[in-house]
Amino acid sequence: MDMVSMGLLAAMGALATVAGASEDIESDVGSQSNPNSQVQLAAQVGHPHRIYNKAVSGEPPSNALYAALAAVTASVLMSGFGMSAFFAIATGAVVAAIFDGIYSVTAYMGRNTSQARFNQYVYLDILRTHTPTIMAHAYITAFCIVSISYIMTASWLPIQHPFPMPLVAFIWGLAIGAIGSSTGDIHYGAEREFQSYPFGAGLNAADSGDIVTKAEAGLRNSIDNAWFCAKYGGPITGMAFGLTVFLDNWRATIFDPATQGGLVILTGIVIVILFNVYNRILETRARKRYGPYPEYVGDIKA
């Protein structure tokens, strides 16, 4: 372990945390991924809305696409045109953001026009204000992921991953999408979309589609949702991706994989065991604090 490697590892962890947060907020502004099912359903059950609706695909494939696009562009600019890494990665992220913008606009217009029979409008002001917000967040995500991939693969830096940079970016893009859709989206789908229901319960299946369409003033839009999710859903997604990138690379930095491979693996196993123990503590504390549901009428005692 040398100081440069530790510094780079810290930078990767920080970049991953920012990437995770921006990825989650990008999906929240666009209502991508699983909570989109409720946005899609809302108009059909009598709640037309001003929420952006862009289920381009699941988050992992779309983020893998954006990250790989940015990385391929950056890689070509660096190797073919001799551009400096910083500008090449920034240009690559712009390309990724443009693709995200194109997919978002077509998805929004396609989905909302197909729901015209349910009185769902295409709001041009929503398109005009939300699409740049989505693209900006996609830019940050792509920039951070390609930067992480560059740090892992650049020949003049100490961490030498054998995969080419676009492939590393593709895998991290897939992972960040999987994490974003597994963590931050819950805050958007289970809490923000159904804020009119009491805190502390999952969505009753009978209430599906009854999303909140009114805001503190006027009608709620997706930037209102991003404002809310940026307080909790976004940061925890960043923590999840940051933890993944940091812990996965940390054990290979403090020990040399070539001579201390066993220790690298052992450290990982200890981390996994600690995670499992912590989850049990978390579960026990939550049950103790919240208690059983008062509506429960079964025979099994809490």
Binding site: N34, W172, F194, A201, D207, I236, A240, P257, N276
Partner: protein
């Protein structure tokens, strides 16, 4: 390339890797879209999405390990551990979202008592849902899923690397074979599964047969293509 005993061995390794992925996906607790609304137990995403996210993070660890050693055990275990770290971090933060963001305690809708901790489940399931969050049994099951998925992906990568010695090509084919097996298994699961205690887990033999057939065909094709035939 010449087709000899070692080539057959590589194909067998790819098939075993594919089977590990296919079976591993059944361990991953996913609740799909309903879980994102705290309507179902498990992680609020799709089976393939989470399995691929964790398994391929493991592939990065295995790739790094294989650049410094030829020891198959170190490479495969390294991939498994990388995948377990990713899925564990995701599930922990998922539980943070459920507990602190939505205010629901983790509970299973498929069993009355957690098979590991013996904790009662139904009193903690909110009305109109089939559980929420990631209780201990699902968490442990997810960790096992990450282990199998990561090990499977790494084994496929190891076999392909021995054939063509090209990390980029082997990595891309390993991702392809991984995703095929994950998708096959996810058809078997039909959207949601809580882990090894879920009744759907009994469908594993069907996935075993499907993944065996698919991995064998893809294994032969992958070896021929990446070997330069």
């Amino acid at each position: 390339m010449t087709f000899d005993a070692s080539t057959a061995l590589y194909i067998i390794e790819i098939v075993i890797g594919g089977l590990l992925v296919g079976i591993g996906v059944h361990f991953v607790p996913v609740g799909g879209a309903p879980a994102a609304m705290a309507q179902a137990t498990g992680v609020g995403t799709g089976t393939v999405q989470l399995a691929a996210g964790s398994g391929l993070t493991g592939l990065l660890s295995a790739g790094l390990m294989m650049s410094v050693t030829d020891n198959i055990i170190l490479i495969v275990v390294s991939g498994a551990v990388g995948a377990m770290i990713m899925i564990d971090a995701t599930m922990i933060v998922g539980n943070w979202a459920y507990i602190y963001g939505v205010g629901v305690p983790p509970s299973s809708g498929k069993v009355d008592y957690d098979p590991i901790t013996k904790d009662p489940q139904p009193p903690y399931v909110s009305p109109g849902t089939v559980g929420h969050g990631i209780p201990t049994v699902s968490y442990v099951s997810g960790t096992i899923g990450g282990l199998l998925g990561g090990a499977g992906g790494s084994l496929i990568y190891y076999a392909l690397m021995n054939i063509n010695h090209n990390p980029g090509l082997s990595g891309m084919f390993a991702i392809g074979i991984f995703v095929v097996n994950a998708v096959l298994a996810s058809y078997n699961i039909q959207g949601t599964i809580e882990g090894f205690h879920d009744p759907k887990f009994k469908r594993v033999p069907a996935a075993f047969q499907a993944c065996l057939a698919a991995s064998l065909v893809i294994g032969i094709i992958a070896v021929l293509i990446t070997g330069g035939a």
